[in-house]
């Protein structure tokens, strides 16, 4: 196991670069690729190549792997948003500052366990996409830091469908909440695998990591939403949208149950950035080719699925309504005040109204009851 804090004492070594074997060199390069510090094309080549595995690694290689892992993951989280002076809930009250100011040391200590090293050994020695010996680790044995690493590894391999196709089938990745939150369409695959239980995501180190990732996740979801207009295949859109909807809904419900609505900020931010102006469903479905499935029910399902992100605004608006009703002497007053601040900062009411309008445009029988002037309905 390696710990990022307190920093380990550097092992004494020669003044020049450390000597490692060819296998160890590949393993370290692969590790750097997973952490985003090595060119993607070279990393994918390494993952697709095989090399004979030695009986054990040299102390120098182990030290270097530990160092890379510890620094790489911390650097990623810091860059992703840990450096921001932000506020998140601690208990039922907001805590301000950068992640290291507002979190206790034990909450932000990344502890890596054996499966990380085993995976690296397997990925280096086998052609991942052709390997007959599939490596896997029980998801319950993984530490939060392991999950972070495996998510980064999956994310790095996403560019190669062969690699991601193999990794997706492993329980280590399939049950990784971060993989689902960052790229639900890729991890769910065509078989519509249900998302994992997000309950554990809202406490301890996992929650601190999610705080760091809020802006990163918002940027990813925004990119994904903007790219939907380029999807031409109805089946692909349906599969992606269903995975997104299932993931976000499961995540938001779990966040609500855990009283950590602040960790759903990225969903609100994504919608707020999308709905700076009124949008029609064409924004999402404009790229779909042909007339689609013969059944209207299937076409409608795909169109609804495409709007998975705006559809979440309904739930967030319910949170806002609830927050408004919480009084000064209520237990959740401070948490609700924080949610209201977040909501008002992005103009939540307007965003929710625009999202709702976009969602309703897809519905064939939805009556415009709140625009009575246009259809002769009663003014309410």
């Amino acid at each position: 196991m390696t710990r990022t804090a307190p920093p380990s004492t550097p092992s004494p070594g020669p003044d020049g670069p450390r000597q490692v074997s060819r296998f160890e060199y590949n393993l370290l390069r692969l590790l750097r690729f997973f952490l985003g510090h090595h060119p993607s094309d070279q990393g994918i080549q390494l993952a697709r190549a095989a090399i004979t595995r030695p009986a054990c690694l040299s102390p120098a290689a182990v030290d270097l792997a530990k160092d890379t892992l510890a620094k790489g993951c911390v650097l990623f989280l810091t860059r992703a948003g840990g450096w921001r002076n932000d506020h998140y809930l601690r208990g039922r009250s907001p805590a301000d500052g950068r992640v290291w100011d507002r979190s206790a040391l034990d909450e932000r200590t990344l502890v890596f366990s054996a499966p990380v090293m085993e995976f690296l050994l397997w990925a280096t020695s086998e052609k991942i996409h052709e390997s007959k010996i599939l490596w896997d680790a029980p998801p319950q044995d993984l530490t939060p830091a392991d999950e972070l690493f495996f998510w980064l590894a999956f994310d790095a391999c996403r560019a190669d469908p062969d690699l991601s196709g193999v990794l997706r089938r492993l329980a280590t990745f399939r049950n990784n909440a971060l993989c689902w939150l960052a790229s639900p369409g890729d991890i769910a695959g065509a078989d519509n695998t249900p998302p994992p239980d997000f309950r554990s995501t809202f406490s301890g180190t996992r929650a601190v990591m999610l705080e760091c990732l809020q802006n990163h996740l918002a940027a990813r979801w925004l990119r994904s939403e903007r790219a939907k207009g380029q999807i031409g295949d109805w089946k692909r859109m349906n599969q992606l949208g269903r995975a997104e909807y299932a993931t976000l809904r499961a995540f938001l419900e779990a966040a609500d149950r855990a009283n950590r609505t602040d960790l759903a900020r990225f969903v609100l931010k994504t919608n707020a950035t999308l709905f700076q102006t009124d949008l029609t469903p064409v924004f999402w479905t404009g790229g779909l080719q042909g007339s689609g499935p013969p059944r209207l029910a299937d076409r409608l399902e795909t169109q609804r699925a495409a709007l998975a992100v705006p559809r979440q605004m309904e739930l967030l608006a319910d949170w806002q309504d609830r927050a408004r009703s919480i009084g000064y002497f209520d237990e959740d007053y401070q948490a609700s005040q924080m949610w209201k601040q977040d909501w008002e900062a992005v103009g939540g009411d307007l965003v929710a109204a625009r999202a709702r309008a976009a969602v309703e445009m897809v519905e064939p029988l939805r009556t415009p009851a709140r625009q009575p002037e246009s259809d002769g309905g009663p003014g309410v």
């Binding site: 209207l296 064939p364 029988l365 939805r366 009851a369 002037e373 259809d375 309410v380």
Partner: protein, 190 residues
């Protein structure tokens, strides 16, 4: 000496084909009165428009091949179109064989029969697609027709609910309705 012969095999089949399509959505009913009262108002309005109450509490109306089902409690609307037809198809194939080379007559006949079954399946698949298109087109057409009616139902329910609410608040002194603009003014003496 090799002698050629020709076999003609004919197969026919009759199948009952069914196709269906449906869409479901939820009515936007404002919560002016408690949900059960809103459900009662919706039920009454639907009854006035020819919907019949079913054992499970839903209101159903059949318009030709299209069935409209409304659940007054949840406001869920389902519009279903169904098409079914009994279709007969026939296929025929010729095959040439030789008495001294290749498969014998029985084998040849079996092989042609298998091909014919495949041909028939294809023909029935085409028929199924045609029937499916018919059901979907019927549904699309009906949706356009039913959309204004659904709007009218919701508006009527909202009007009735507002009137009831006003009565609960005090004595209604005046109700003015303008059908053209859709405005409804209720004066209440509290």
């Amino acid at each position: 000496m090799s002698r050629a012969y020709r076999i003609t095999v004919k197969e026919s089949d009759t199948r009952h084909l069914k196709a269906g399509d449906e869409i479901g959505t939820c009515l936007e009913i404002l919560e002016i009165l408690p949900p059960e009262d809103m459900a009662t108002l919706l039920k009454n309005e639907l009854r006035n428009r020819g919907f019949a109450e079913q054992d499970d509490g839903t209101m159903t109306r059949r318009d030709g091949d299209v069935t409209v089902i409304v659940d007054p409690c949840s406001g869920e609307v389902t519009v279903k179109a169904e098409a079914q037809e009994t279709v007969s198809q026939e296929a025929r194939r010729d095959a040439t064989g030789f008495n001294d080379v290749g498969p014998n007559e029985n084998n040849l006949r079996d092989r042609v029969r298998d091909q014919l079954k495949h041909d028939l399946d294809k023909k029935f698949e085409q028929e199924q697609t045609r029937l499916q298109t018919k059901a979907t087109e019927e549904l699309e057409k009906h949706l356009q027709e039913i959309q204004p009616e659904i709007s009218q139902i919701v508006n009527q329910v909202t009007r009735d609910a507002l009137k009831q609410k006003a009565q609960q608040m005090g004595t209604v002194t005046e109700i003015t309705e303008d059908a053209e603009s859709g405005s409804l003014t209720i004066r209440v003496e509290v």
